[in-house]
Symmetry: C2
Amino acid sequence: MAKELKNLTKRSENYSQWYNELVVKADLAEQSAVRGCMVIKPYGYAIWEKMQRTLDEMFKKTGVQNAYFPLLIPKSFLCREAEHVEGFAKECAVVTHYRLKNDPDGNGVVVDPEARLEEELIVRPTSETIIWGTFKNWIHSYRDLPLLVNQWANVMRWEMRTRMFLRTAEFLWQEGHTAHATAEEAEARTVQMINLYADFAREQMALPVVVGVKSETERFAGALNTYTIEAMMQDGKALQSGTSHFLGQNFAKAFDVTFINKENQAEYVWASSWGVSTRLMGALIMAHSDDNGLVLPPRLAPIQVVIVPIYKNDEQLKAISDKIRPIINELEGKGISVKYDDADNRRPGFKFADYELKGVPVRLAVGARDLENGTIELMRRDTLEKETMPIEGIADHIESLLNDIQANIYKKALGRMNENIHEVNSYDEFKEKIENGGFMLCHWDGTPETEARIKEETKATIRCIPLDREDEEGVCMVTGKPSKRRVIIARSY
Amino acid sequence: MAKELKNLTKRSENYSQWYNELVVKADLAEQSAVRGCMVIKPYGYAIWEKMQRTLDEMFKKTGVQNAYFPLLIPKSFLCREAEHVEGFAKECAVVTHYRLKNDPDGNGVVVDPEARLEEELIVRPTSETIIWGTFKNWIHSYRDLPLLVNQWANVMRWEMRTRMFLRTAEFLWQEGHTAHATAEEAEARTVQMINLYADFAREQMALPVVVGVKSETERFAGALNTYTIEAMMQDGKALQSGTSHFLGQNFAKAFDVTFINKENQAEYVWASSWGVSTRLMGALIMAHSDDNGLVLPPRLAPIQVVIVPIYKNDEQLKAISDKIRPIINELEGKGISVKYDDADNRRPGFKFADYELKGVPVRLAVGARDLENGTIELMRRDTLEKETMPIEGIADHIESLLNDIQANIYKKALGRMNENIHEVNSYDEFKEKIENGGFMLCHWDGTPETEARIKEETKATIRCIPLDREDEEGVCMVTGKPSKRRVIIARSY
């Protein structure tokens, strides 16, 4: 393993390969036997669980309740909303039969042709259709609104080119679906949730993001408006990390969901939907990690502190363990997760490299001499700085250090992002700068044609119209036509 | 709703219909548009989440880690273990295509015949095969063992007759999969987990269970031994509520998973798997509820205490709310979940009936006269007893009352179970008694033939060979052949 670690490709050599190797070497995930589907390993899943728990609490505080809807969607449901099916039809896993049988020719087990479904079922790529089909039974009067529902689920989109966490045929996510009496309320919820995602990214993942609105071309299939958080990876590419959609009355009309308003009249219901997925794992890994492995923000690290005793014999180990035990208790009392690794089948140097690879934020090492001196060696993963410190008061020090590390990782990522956002005023300048990555703030004439041309010629797409920028008169960098504000254009994952 | 409540079928009239109605009327779940699949509604899902959280903590305390494996299993994987595929082939949802397209004849969207998968994929009915296919990469040496993995997931078994929670085509569950160096260790884990399930059922669900071993016929497909917890419903039928399987080396052999032991020799790995599902929701509902609706044990109730103010005007409501606010804070400070229902669009009587239907363990009602007298009306759901009490010290009283209710619900269910376990010594007696439900303790000659005959003639099956009973010499009630211990035979869900 120590050898394998040394073999981790450097980011500067091949960023993409560095990522693929890191996912596997840090024990986060691996390819499965099923095309485009990954296995999320325990260490990776523990990070996802921490994300889930925090997001779930944040959702519930805003009044959202969890529920569960079927995995399989009748084909006719998917087809009810025209743009929606257009957007997903090309990547649907389709269940056509419900039974296997022994091959009459003796070639093992085959699909039983007699068990063909009357109507094909689609493994959900997203659940708007089955959920709005259900909401029809739940919504009758304005008193039933707003309806705020979320589900944690697996979904499937048959992508041709897959990469672990970033784009997989099956992925885990949450999808929120809300129903409202007015357009204003539905759009306010849409914005509330994209801001919740931005807060989560910044505060928990230490991930700076730009909040914005998608262009029409990049909208969710069936939405009137899609909000997004866009993060910048270390290679300057954008990663769409969460989206929130204002669906208008499209799904209410498709599934005939009306409510009786206070004036006793029937109206179609207004909707939002919003989701983040295991793709966030990809963002987390790519945004902070270095050539030694993962760098995890303490709030999402399954192990926040690892303690490695350095000993020559059982007597030394016992003396160290006796000294360390109360420190572990003190740390755990503060809600800090600690691993004491006294395994005797791996050398300390090997352990150090392994915990660096796994991104444990703080590493302590204690040897016999430390015991004599009342000291301990502390290393912080984000800066790789080592320090020998008094063992007295170490738990308090670590508590505040973890906050420092969290803040420092965010600051570093924010600095990197801000350095790589450029205002660009000509298409030539754009073409030159885009080669080095980064977010380009450009004037665009607002047409899908210009958008398509930029994409074709530079492989860059309009990531979003950022919400936090003032309007600014200008001219489109490609066509010279008037533009009222700058948009962010970048290459992306 | 109050009217609907009155319409709840009585258990004595039609137990089965009572259950089906209760699931819907208490807002736990409903049928979906997809055959045999249900929608778990927010109130039902909140109960499931409480179960999940507690079970998850219990698993982790025994060293188990969560992970996630693909939803879809290649057909060839399913077929590697002969008994396993035999057991599941007849109820498999099969994915055969990965794309839809516009119908060239203009009839909407159809499956694209050109997007046929080379190998069909099965929606997992359980994950032994895909997991053991993965374990092959994870296990090399005895140092990699034991491997203790669990996943929370959806699974699919295409059942012909479905009932919400009890038997649905898709259900939610956890499946634990462990790998060990020795048969003894794997079997010890199998037993540890069935006992964990029994503890969970008794302590959290207030559900008494019999722990036992399945007969060969009733074993999990691919197991050497299946342990079960069997609960008794109010109609005397058994409900298999959780199982734990000793898999021997069957899956290790099927997927060629070996490890190098301490003597440096390659050996096949030993395995267990174990699971509980949303079926537990069915057990919970059926075991405790009454003709007024759900009865929930406090530890799993999403709302433990509901407070209903009874007022004629805003002034009264304000006075009541001012009095109640500190009580709510005190209860919440004790970790008790409270709902204060001051909605003005439903009358108190309606609210009372609704919270009874939903099984909220404790209901408080406060009116103007109570304020004057310093009293509060308290009703406990399990006994429906009402009492007027001093408002002073009510939070402490409720804290201990919730424990009493939890204990009382268990005691009641345990009493009912014990009353309906009968030692039966002749087949005639058996046939007569089984008509009234209950668990029959019978001698059985241990043959599948006798087992099949009992099932055919009485619709009863061998639920388990209970672990906590002494061996006892006897003769089979059907054939008169010798028997060494009694087994439990019952009709079941």
